[in-house]
């Protein structure tokens, strides 16, 4: 089962290595990882998407919380959070295929960000399923390149983190 953890860490050198190292040495699998600044300059927010049962996720949270550089760990549960991922997709697109691709892009609210004589590049945001579905629909045209940021997430409503 997928779980999403939001981890606030101090902006210290090597902090990403500490987080990633903990996952690998305790044999926890990461599906995706996204890292960026937060509303507080002192802290970086790391969003980790991972697979595991509740016990494993509970243990991961406790182990993360022990790291000196970790300020806070929170699980963002699907019912109380919004998950998003940014995906860039480059597909083969000759003049004939182009209108079809534009149509699918419109349905998915993907933006066309680059067009060449042979390709179209689009950007799309959404949760995992939406992006997977979009890539699936693009496959018949010839997907040349897929670049994904990994999942990032925020709590719904007034919830913090």
């Amino acid at each position: 089962m997928r779980h999403v953890l939001s981890i606030m860490v101090a902006n210290n050198a090597g902090v990403l290595g500490r987080i990633v190292g903990l996952f690998s040495r305790r044999a926890y699998n990461i599906d995706s990882l996204s890292v960026g600044t937060s509303e507080d300059q002192r802290f970086t927010r790391i969003t980790v998407s991972l697979q595991g049962d509740n016990n494993v996720v509970d243990q991961i949270q406790k182990q993360l919380a022990k790291l000196v550089d970790v300020q806070d760990v929170l699980e963002l549960k699907p019912e109380a959070a919004i998950y998003r991922e940014l995906c860039l997709v480059k597909v083969e697109a000759n003049a004939t295929a182009r209108p079809d691709i534009f149509n699918v892009a419109t349905v998915f609210r993907a933006n066309i960000i680059d067009v060449s004589t042979k390709t179209i590049t689009m950007e799309l945001t959404g949760d995992l399923n939406k992006i997977d579905a979009f890539i699936e629909l693009m496959k018949p045209y010839g997907v040349l390149e897929v670049v994904r940021t990994g999942l990032t997430a925020i709590s719904r409503g007034a919830g913090k983190h």
Binding site: N55, Q59, K62
Partner: protein
């Protein structure tokens, strides 16, 4: 005042109450050694033979005192030589600060001479680590390192100091150290009352004490707790010395080489109170067959230990000493006559083996050591059969009297740790119980013991084999003794010890044991006693891998 980085480091050590450092100099740590020369009246530096010895000595110092042990090494190989010792301390939650020199900041990352990324290397085996790239951050970093090392669940912290930082000047003003902090917010009256209620409901309670009881100084609280609820006490290897071995309630070690009584009781109890322990696989063996009839109450400072190895029904997260001192007044004296009868029967069925002087065995030597040495003596061990015999046979009456590498099982730990213990306890007899394999690993530290006149007694239980590994080969690998015979080229340990200037004795018959031990203790100098024991002796009881902890074997034939 304006000071060099190296002087700031030493001022911070003094601030933290440090007067002892174990270390080894080298190029990139020279500025610190230069400052140590200046501070030589205030800080005693013990020069070891190998950096691993410095780490083990700092660890032994910490384990035998409860204070933070400090070791110091140069960059590159000096730093990597500390790693085994740091990992050993980490596994057993021993408070340590390791300081390493490194190449100057502009040379970092260029594969400079003797450069190594020691913070990267030690990340998984330290509680935290730092590289200090600006001298203005040095003092606060050292203070944090000590605070982290001793707070909560203790552990090693490494601080890497590039040589230009050690030479740079910064403003320094002294600060009082922050006392160690323990997270006790989760111990609420409601949780305590619930725990007391559960304990009162138990008909067959068993207490299982781990190293956390020693670390938190909760031995007295544990004794009161055990008396209150009328429950027997078993221990993990790290929990040995947390409870007086002579007490009627004491049933010995639990686990793979635990006593028959403890292993049977844990399989029969209806309520297990695990205190300051992490349910190591050497205790639990087979998770699905451990304490199957029992509800478990787990008390530990580290929230991450709850439900890590064993799922427990109830837990109290906080400093063990604090938890027990709050819990004790809530408890009523319990009476569980049937359980007491069962315990007494088991003790009769499986009495503590008392060796006679028929054969010169490891257990016999350890029993005699325990009998003859001052009750205050500190016993250190290496790792292997002799260690398990020590766990099973030593009579101990106070915490921190027993120093052993439990979690990492580090062969070669003992002599360094004994040196650290002897430095911390002048005038106390310190005995390192060793096997010949372990002794061969780090006997070089005899030179350190000689140099500083430390009366460490090394008792080598010499069976000319790697006994524990050989025991597994004998029982589980069809007696194929692959690379466990050490006797092909016999090293004369007596001559070896004498080469270092230590006193040395050969013991080949049981009647020589008592006299030699007495002589060694009286000498008050480094002594090696080489005891020629049989290579075929095994450690029993033993629980084979995968078996339930109650399915111990007591003899080879079984």
């Amino acid at each position: 005042m304006q000071l060099k980085g190296a002087e700031i480091l030493l001022e911070c050590l003094l601030e933290q109450g440090v007067d002892t450092i174990f270390g080894y100099p080298g190029g990139r740590v020279l500025p610190i050694y230069d400052a140590l020369y200046k501070y030589r009246d205030k800080l005693n530096h013990y020069l070891v033979s190998h950096e691993q010895g410095a780490a083990h000595a700092a660890d032994g110092y910490a384990r035998s005192t409860g204070k933070v042990g400090v070791c110091l090494a140069t960059s590159g190989p000096g730093a990597t030589n500390l790693v085994t010792g740091i990992a050993t301390a980490y596994m057993d939650s021993s408070p340590m600060v390791a300081i390493t020199g490194n190449v100057p900041v502009p040379m970092l990352g260029k594969d400079s001479f003797q450069e190594v990324d020691i913070t990267g290397i030690t990340m998984p085996v330290t509680k935290h680590n730092y590289i200090v790239k600006n001298v203005d951050d040095l003092a606060e970093t050292i203070r944090s390192a000590f605070h982290i090392a001793r707070s909560g669940r203790p552990g090693p912290v490494l601080v890497d100091i590039p040589s230009d930082v050690a030479m740079a000047i910064s403003e320094f003003s002294s600060k009082r150290p922050i006392p160690a902090q323990y997270e006790n917010a989760r111990i609420t009256p409601q949780k305590l009352n619930e725990a007391a209620e559960l304990i009162h409901q138990a008909k067959k309670p068993l207490i299982f004490a781990g190293g956390g009881v020693v670390l938190s100084g909760a031995s007295e609280e544990l004794q009161e707790f055990a008396a209150n609820i009328n429950a027997p006490v078993c221990v993990s290897a790290m929990g040995i010395s947390s409870f007086p071995t002579a007490s009627d309630a004491y049933v010995g070690m639990l686990g793979m080489h635990g006593t028959a009584v403890a292993n049977t009781l844990v399989s029969e109890c209806d309520f297990l109170i695990a205190i300051g322990t992490r349910f190591s696989d050497r205790v639990v063996n087979n998770v699905s067959r451990f304490a199957t009839g029992a509800k478990i109450l787990h008390i530990d400072i580290d929230a991450a230990e709850i439900d890590k190895n064993i799922l427990t029904a109830y837990s109290l997260v906080g400093d063990v000493k604090r938890v027990l001192s709050l819990l004790n007044p809530l408890l009523q004296k319990q009476d569980n006559p049937e359980w007491q009868t069962r315990i007494a029967d088991l003790k009769t069925q499986y009495p503590q083996p008392k060796c006679t002087s028929q054969d010169l065995t490891g257990q016999y030597v350890i029993q005699r050591l325990s009998e003859i040495a001052n009750p205050d003596a500190i016993f250190v061990t290496e790792v292997g059969q002799h260690q398990m015999w020590a766990c099973q046979n030593l009579q101990l009456n106070r915490p921190r009297q027993f120093v052993t590498s439990g979690g990492l099982g580090t062969m070669g730990f003992g002599l360094g740790a004994a040196i650290g213990s002897a430095v911390a306890h002048p005038g106390t007899t310190v005995i390192n119980i060793a096997g010949d394999g372990c002794f061969r690993m780090n006997h070089i530290e005899l030179a350190t013991a000689m140099e500083y006149d430390l009366p460490v007694i090394v008792v080598v239980l010499n069976n000319h084999v790697l006994g524990m590994v050989r025991q597994w080969q004998k029982l589980f690998f069809g007696k194929r003794y692959s690379s466990t015979n050490l006797h092909d080229k016999v090293t004369d340990f007596v001559k070896l010890a004498e080469a270092y200037g230590a006193a040395a004795f050969n013991v080949t018959t049981p009647d020589q044991v008592d006299e030699t031990i007495k002589k060694a203790i009286a000498l008050k100098k480094p002594v090696v006693i080489n005891c020629e024991i049989s290579g075929d002796e095994s450690v029993f009881p033993m629980v084979p891998l995968g078996a339930g902890i109650g399915q111990f074997i007591t003899k080879e034939a079984e």
